[in-house]
């Protein structure tokens, strides 16, 4: 995000409207293509707007690949899918040099780009690949470029990595390192659909094939959405709240909860606070507001923080997960920063 020294005026309704309408259309299409997951689609769209990478966790067959494919079609972005296997090599993702004969008859090494050179890379079952292969994505995700044999090649813009991992069948897998996990904006859990949705899928779609989108976004429209995102305003109290929230995930923080002190080994990094701010902007855009509110932060915080907080063995023993820790933090931390004494509380009264 570009820092602006001059305070920009807030997006006016007519300036915000086009982007909001675009996103509404995308959401509408996603909801039509993939049934029963509006919240998930919203969060994925927030991730796209924030230009962040997303980690999808879910059992096989819940529609992770279909979602990413649909997204690629809707946004008119080039989409590549890589099935990560234990024998996958970094060159299989990034690309490799091959010896080729030119029309002039000369032989030279030609770079053959890998599947990473796309707008959206779906890394299926990323935790099945070796750490060496996983780390090949690190530079690509952070720098949005690939360096091979001393030559840095920029990846297409926009570039997203939507990775998936299977929460079961953990034998023979390599858990993603914290450094790579921290580069994902969200970790979203793709759960099973309900009976009603399943019934509709079975009834209306042969072989479960989703329908094709009836509309797709143009590149300029996507650029417009990104530009609008850049102008979303983050009020000072909200940014302060995000900072306090990220800081409170550490044991030694003054505002850390009992669960944090008991279960957390390592808290969220500053990258988490940045991710929260961006994601909150995206959520506010989807809500049709030019400013970010506290509720936007509370909505995106679990998805941003749950894969960045490292719990200790005591949490495993007590069966505490990051969601419970983050939810506890959200319920105890006062957003406004009034710092009222414990026996004094503000009660909402319905306006007459």
């Amino acid at each position: 995000m570009n820092e602006r020294e001059q305070p920009e005026p807030i997006l006016q309704p007519e300036e915000l409207k086009p982007a909001v309408e675009l996103m509404s259309k995308v959401l509408e299409q996603l909801d039509r293509i993939l049934l029963g997951r509006s919240d998930l689609h919203r969060m994925v769209l927030v991730g796209i707007l924030s230009q962040g990478h997303i980690l999808l966790e879910g059992v096989p067959g819940v529609g992770k690949t279909a979602l990413v494919k649909a997204l690629g079609q809707l946004l008119d972005l080039e989409f590549n899918r890589v099935q990560f296997t234990p024998d996958l090599m970094p060159g299989d993702i990034l690309g490799t040099h091959i010896l080729q004969e030119t029309p002039q008859g000369k032989r030279e090494m030609t770079f053959q780009p890998g599947p990473v050179f796309a707008n959206i890379l779906l890394a299926d079952e990323i935790n099945r690949a070796s750490p060496k292969t996983q780390s090949a994505l690190l530079e690509a995700m952070q720098e949005r470029s690939v360096t091979l044999l001393g030559t840095t090649r920029t990846l297409p813009d926009p570039f997203f990595v939507l990775a998936s991992q299977n929460p079961i069948e953990l034998e023979g897998t390599y858990p993603l390192p914290e450094a790579q996990l921290d580069r994902f904006l969200f970790k979203l859990v793709v759960s099973n659909v309900g009976v009603t949705v399943l019934d509709e899928i079975i009834s209306t779609r042969r072989r479960g094939e989703p329908p094709l989108p009836t509309w797709s976004m143009q590149a300029e429209e996507l650029r417009l959405a990104f530009d609008t995102m850049d102008r979303m305003f983050l009020p000072k109290p909200v940014s302060r709240y995000i900072s306090r929230l990220a800081a409170a995930t550490h044991r030694e923080a003054s505002e850390a909860t009992e669960d944090v002190r008991k279960y957390v080994s390592y808290g969220a990094s500053p990258r988490a606070a940045i991710a929260m701010a961006e994601a909150a902007r995206g959520y506010a855009l989807l809500a049709g507001r030019p400013t970010v509110g506290f509720e936007d932060v509370r909505t995106v915080a679990p998805a941003v923080l749950n894969h960045r907080i490292i719990l200790n063995y005591k949490a495993r023993f007590d069966q505490a997960d990051t969601f419970s820790v983050v939810n506890g933090l959200l319920s105890s931390l006062d957003e406004t920063g009034l710092n009222l004494p414990g026996d004094l509380e503000v009660v909402e009264v319905k306006d007459q």
């Binding site: 807030i10 009020p235 509110g293 506290f294 503000v346």
Partner: protein, 466 residues
Amino acid sequence: MDTYTKAIRSVRSKIAAFLLLRRMVTFVTVWGFLWGLVVLVLRGAVGVPLLPLVWGSAGLLVPIGLAVGLTLRCMPSRTAVRALLDRMSGCGGLLMAAEDRDIGRWERQIPSLSTPSLRWRNVRCWGLFAAATVFVLVSFLVPRRFAAIGSSHALDVGKEVEKLAAQIETLEEEEIIEPSRAESLEEKLTQLRLEASGEDPVKTWESLDHLEEIVAQTAREAAEDALGKTERLTQAETLAEGLAEGAAGMDPQLMAEAMRELADMVERAAEETDLFEGKLSSELMNFCKAGSLSPEQLGEISAALRLYKGDIARCLGRLCRAGLIDIETVRVCEELGEFDSTGLAAFLAENKDIGSVCELVGLWCEGLPGRGGVTRGRGDAPMTWSDGTSEEGATFKEQSLPPAAVAALKENLLVGVSIAAPSVADGVEASKVEALADAVAGGGAAHTQTILPRHRGAVKRYFERR
């Protein structure tokens, strides 16, 4: 924007008011406990009266002022209050953004602000405040004797000390103890009075008893000494009077010896104490030593000795009034001071071969045997021993005991000891024991115990000798 500013100001003021009230109650509670403690300490340890302590309530301004100052310093910021209103009204950040930026047409979309109310869970706070108030009241109303801490209760020994001081003064005036000794005792007494404490009365009483014992012992010794002197003076006076009365018919040699003895007695009296000074002239003393005293001069010596005895008696009387000696000692002194010199000269002449004049005078003063009389005391005759009685020709009358008594003697057992003389019962004697009243006892025994027929076998087996 005025609406928002007013709403923000209103909420901020409300929060500030609650915070101020909470701080005031807390600080006043703390101050109340402190004030109550100070009041208790001042009343108990120092004995400060109540009225000045009430002025401590002016210190109430301190916690109130402190609460006001802290509240003003820690007031919630307008930004925070704006954020609170934004959140509670669902403005989605628009109200917060309006503080820094012009939100333009978005202002129409800001919903009406809902005014939050504050809830203060104040039970504990007010409870402590009530406790502090009660504590302050208790600190003022509790009787001082309960509040007194560390104060020593003085022990009132004034009466005993005064009595003892009077006794010491009496001893000093009578020259029984030296002034330095008297002063030392009085100093100890004064110190005892100052240090007398209710926490350790035993120590005080023991010290008093010790001083009393010292004083009483001194008085007793002085009294015994006075009795001895009185006795010697009486002997001297008796001799002087006796010589004055019977000088005409006495043997000159005996007279001379008596005079010398008298001179010794008077000289000893003069050496013992300076009370004798001024009562007898040195010229008379010289005549006494020379053994050439006329009856008139003997009378002067006698009068001087009498005066001296009178001084001693007065001294003992004063000691008795001071409670240092009992009245019996004074009576003994008076008795020792009485004498009868009539016939002394003849007695001396009759018994001059038996002992010295001094021994004879002593014997005379103690009282001769066989004189008796009311004023002379009983006249105990001397015990004289003659030859023992011979048993030659003396016989005992023989008397035979009845056979039953002889047989009964063998089976006699000690059943008791009586100071009454044993007597032989005539015939049978009825038992005086209740259960065995009027039962017939065996005859011939000095003491019998009636046994019922059914008990006889048991008693016989008990006393069977194996």
